[in-house]
């Protein structure tokens, strides 16, 4: 006899592959824009990251004796590599991308037991690893308005670490941090260096995709509209940055940058809509996601303001990742017919 299938006998037209595909689609505009800004080196880096992730993951899964196809086809490894790639400096050498991708999918994910088991966001774990191990390569930014190198030149940039003279530029956050250490105040540091419009449109030195705050925001809204993510974690993260920025900026405007500066710079938009919304490493409930997002934002602001690194999204996310199980343990929905503690409600007849 055929085994009897359990209800339900219907299913929403969803799958892990479709979820990941939608996220990739949401990332595409910002990524294409990054390609257009930075040219072939950015494309090379992006392609290398993804290929390395696929090959690396396939090898490890094969060594574990599991089926390779479903693991690759779920698209999660590609997404991880993509997120990592667009958070790298576009002119970084090829081995940065390879190392980062392999670290992300192998150490960051498969070692924990594969998809759904990892504690840390793999892309952010890899980014932090790279930042600590290769600070030089990870902070060499390129101003996008310089002539983008052609394809052949780009190969030299990516594969032979050839420097493009006269194009080196600091990202905004990095610039401000450097100026601070030299004792230069914000009004001077920002003069001629910062315009919210440029930030929004991305014509600023930065990583591949994170320059385009506006396109990332649109991608994020698309994901919310498609119900892939909810607004809770992103909004909380933006608030987690904006609220302290607003308060401290009001106290000392020359030392603490205002909320607009923080919101539009660095990897915040990428983090808010594509990183803290990672299902695996964020809490399960709406309230939990609010706490998580706000924590990520707050720590990002703290690292940016007082920490040793100009950007703090990756550190903040990893820190909050460690708190996710704790948040999940304490923040649970109330069960129907029970109070918050789980005791049955008292009958209240004919209320």
């Amino acid at each position: 006899m055929t085994p009897i299938a359990h209800s339900p006998h219907a299913h929403a037209p969803v799958s892990i592959g479709k979820v990941m595909g939608t996220v990739l689609l949401a990332l595409t505009p910002a990524t294409l824009f990054g390609f257009w800004l930075y040219g072939w080196p950015a494309i090379n880096l992006w392609a290398i990251s993804i290929i390395a992730a696929i090959v690396g993951e396939a090898l490890v899964v094969r060594m574990q004796g599991r089926a390779v196809r479903p693991v690759i086809m779920d698209g999660s490894g590609i997404l991880t590599a993509w997120l990592l790639a667009i958070s790298l400096p576009p002119f970084a050498p090829w081995w940065i991308a390879v190392l980062g991708s392999l670290f992300a999918v192998i150490i960051g994910k498969q070692v924990f037991g594969g998809l759904g088991q990892n504690v840390f966001n793999p892309a952010m774990a890899a980014r932090v690893m790279l930042l600590i191990s290769f600070p030089l390569e990870m902070t060499s930014w390129i101003a996008p308005d310089a002539n983008a190198p052609g394809f052949m030149d780009s190969l030299r940039v990516t594969f032979m670490s050839q420097h493009m003279d006269g194009m080196a530029s600091a990202s905004l956050l990095g610039h401000v941090k450097t100026e601070f250490t030299r004792g230069v105040g914000l009004d001077q540091a920002l003069a001629g260096y910062y315009s919210p419009l440029h930030m929004l449109l991305g014509s600023r030195a930065g990583s591949l995709g994170e320059s385009a705050a506006l396109l990332l925001l649109i991608g994020g809204l698309f994901l919310i509209a498609r119900r892939i993510i909810t607004w809770h974690a992103p909004v909380a993260m933006l608030l987690g940055v904006a609220v302290p920025a607003l308060i401290f900026n009001a106290i000392n405007a020359n030392h603490y940058a205002g909320p607009m500066y923080h919101l539009l710079s660095g990897g915040l938009m990428l983090g808010a809509f594509f990183i803290v919304t990672d299902p695996v490493t964020s809490p399960n409930t709406a309230t939990g996601q609010l706490i998580f997002g706000f924590g990520c934002g707050l720590f990002t602001w703290i690292v940016r303001t007082w920490g040793g690194y100009p950007e703090g999204v990756a550190f903040a996310v990893m820190l909050m990742n460690t708190l996710t199980p704790l948040i999940d343990q304490y923040v649970k929905p109330r069960i129907y017919g029970r109070d918050r503690k789980g005791a049955a409600l008292t009958a209240n007849k004919g209320a």
Binding site: H9, I16, G114, G116, V280, I335, G342, A344, K349
Partner: protein
């Protein structure tokens, strides 16, 4: 009227348009009818006919046994040809005791008692007649209706809620009966309300059934019955959810609607009640939706209880393509079946022949902790956490996450992007839990027996010792008396 918010829920594709415009038609009389003795929650009915007996349509053929049970009547006139096992719509797929009837084609009724003014009956009498007519909850729960009426009357009913939600995809049997028999339903509702002295009467209908709402509203004109349109959402027609959306109240965990002064009945049950009280007709037929992508002409039929499902499928012109899965009831909570000889029973709301693409099932992949299942759960559970506990065989932890509160609605499984069969795990764990509890009860009973036995033995010993002590004391006293007498004698000498 103000409606209250619900948590969670899903919006599966309705597919009601397949059959929604098809009028209820009577099925032609089958040659054989297979009437199982258990079509309800509780104890099976006990047959009161023998093989070879001639019966009339509506005649009592099996009588309710014990407190929770329901009587069964002959769906047509004919001869009892067998008393024995027959395949049945039971999850186990095993045959169950069944009365097999060969119809004589005459459809000759018993004499039915018609009552012109049912409100002259006492509430107790109404409940008794509902019980005698073998009426059970037709929404699918199949709880004996008379019992529900009696329990509610003794505990008091503030609000009577009539469930016209029909939130399961495909099913249109309640939709059709509300459109076509609204007057009878409203009368039945008022009889139920009278039987339990309800103060407020609400009929909740999902707003994807505008014609049904209009028909019911028209029929309810000038009566205390209030027809309310509810948002279409699954599982709106679940008892807990319809109470919540209409009254804002929740049934305390482990309790019943009566605990908060609410009684919920299905609209089709109200029709059956009206037929039973007004015309003395027992429940021998019901409306069934035949639908699904693999059915040629989806439709709604009034089928006699005991009709083989195959006859319904033939009535719908058979299959348009091979069915990937056959389901009784709706796709969200219905039950798969493979043998089309199973009969229609009182709880059969739909017969579905689904295609592979309608089922939409894929091989499960790892959970990505996306919490979609948590957002979908109307009860506020965390299916992902319960499943990880069940997988680790930690049933106690699963219970602490609310396993016992799960209503098995299937919303979580329906939306899970990883296609993890969550409800399957929950049903399996609930089964294990029930077994454990049975074993525990048995152990406790055994322990109690042993305890009483030990106590009895101890008592007997004690009594024996006491008796021995008494005898000894008596003997000693006697001896003392004898000695004293002897002494006295020597002294006197």
């Amino acid at each position: 009227m103000k409606l209250f918010d619900l948590r969670g829920g899903v919006h599966p594709e309705g597919r009601k348009n397949l059959s929604a415009e098809r009028h209820i038609r009577a099925l032609s009389l089958p040659k054989y009818l297979f009437v199982p003795l258990q079509q309800h929650i509780g104890a099976p009915a006990s047959p009161v006919v023998n093989v070879g007996d001639k019966v009339l349509k509506g005649q009592l053929i099996a009588v309710a046994q014990g407190a929770v049970s329901s009587s069964i009547h002959a769906p047509t006139s004919g001869v009892v040809v067998a008393l024995g096992d027959h395949v049945a719509p039971h999850p186990s797929g095993l045959p169950v005791p069944t009365i097999t009837l060969q119809s004589d084609g005459a459809e000759k009724w018993i004499t039915c008692e018609t009552i012109a003014d049912p409100l002259a009956l006492s509430p107790e009498d109404i409940a008794a007649r509902v019980g005698a007519a073998g009426i059970v909850g037709l929404g699918g729960a199949t709880f004996p209706s008379a019992l529900k009426l009696n329990l509610s009357r003794s505990s008091g009913v503030q609000t009577l809620i009539m469930n016209g939600g029909e939130c399961e995809p495909y099913l249109t049997c309640d939709d059709r009966i509300m459109r076509e028999r609204a007057v009878e339903i409203i009368e039945g509702i008022q009889l139920i309300a009278y039987a339990v002295a309800a103060k407020e009467i609400l009929v909740g209908i999902e707003d994807n059934k505008p014609e049904a709402i209009a028909a019911m509203q028209a029929a309810a004109q000038g009566t205390p019955v209030k027809v309310v349109a509810m948002p279409s959402m699954y599982p709106m027609g679940s008892e807990k959810q319809i109470i919540q959306v209409l009254t804002g109240m929740e049934i305390p965990a482990g309790g019943r609607p009566a605990d908060i002064g609410v009684l919920v009945h299905n609209v089709a049950t109200a029709y059956a009640v009206q037929q039973a009280i007004r015309f003395g007709r027992p429940l021998i037929s019901r409306i069934v939706t035949i639908s699904g992508g693999a059915i040629k002409t989806a439709c709604n039929v009034e089928a006699l209880i005991g009709t083989p499902v195959q006859e319904l499928i033939d009535f719908a012109d058979g299959y348009s393509q091979p069915a990937a899965r056959m389901v009784l009831g709706g796709p969200m909570m219905g039950q798969q079946f493979t043998n089309t000889n199973i009969p229609v029973v009182k709880g059969t709301s739909g017969v579905l022949a689904l295609t592979q693409s309608e089922i939409g099932q894929a091989a499960p992949s790892p959970c990505i902790r996306c919490s979609t299942c948590i957002r979908a759960c109307p009860v506020g559970l965390m299916p992902v956490e319960m499943v990880s506990r069940i997988r680790a065989s930690d049933l106690a932890a699963a219970v602490s996450f609310g396993l016992k509160d799960c209503i098995a609605c299937g919303s979580c499984s329906y939306v899970c992007p990883a296609h993890i069969p969550l409800v399957h795990y929950f049903n399996y764990a609930k089964g294990d839990l029930a077994t454990q509890e049975r074993v525990k009860l048995k152990q406790e009973a055994t322990k109690k027996l042993a305890d009483t036995r030990n106590e009895r033995i101890a008592r007997i010993e004690r009594e024996r010792a006491e008796a021995a002590a008494r005898r000894k004391a008596a003997r000693e006293a006697k001896e003392r008396a004898k000695e004293a007498a002897a002494q006295a004698a020597t002294e006197t000498v």
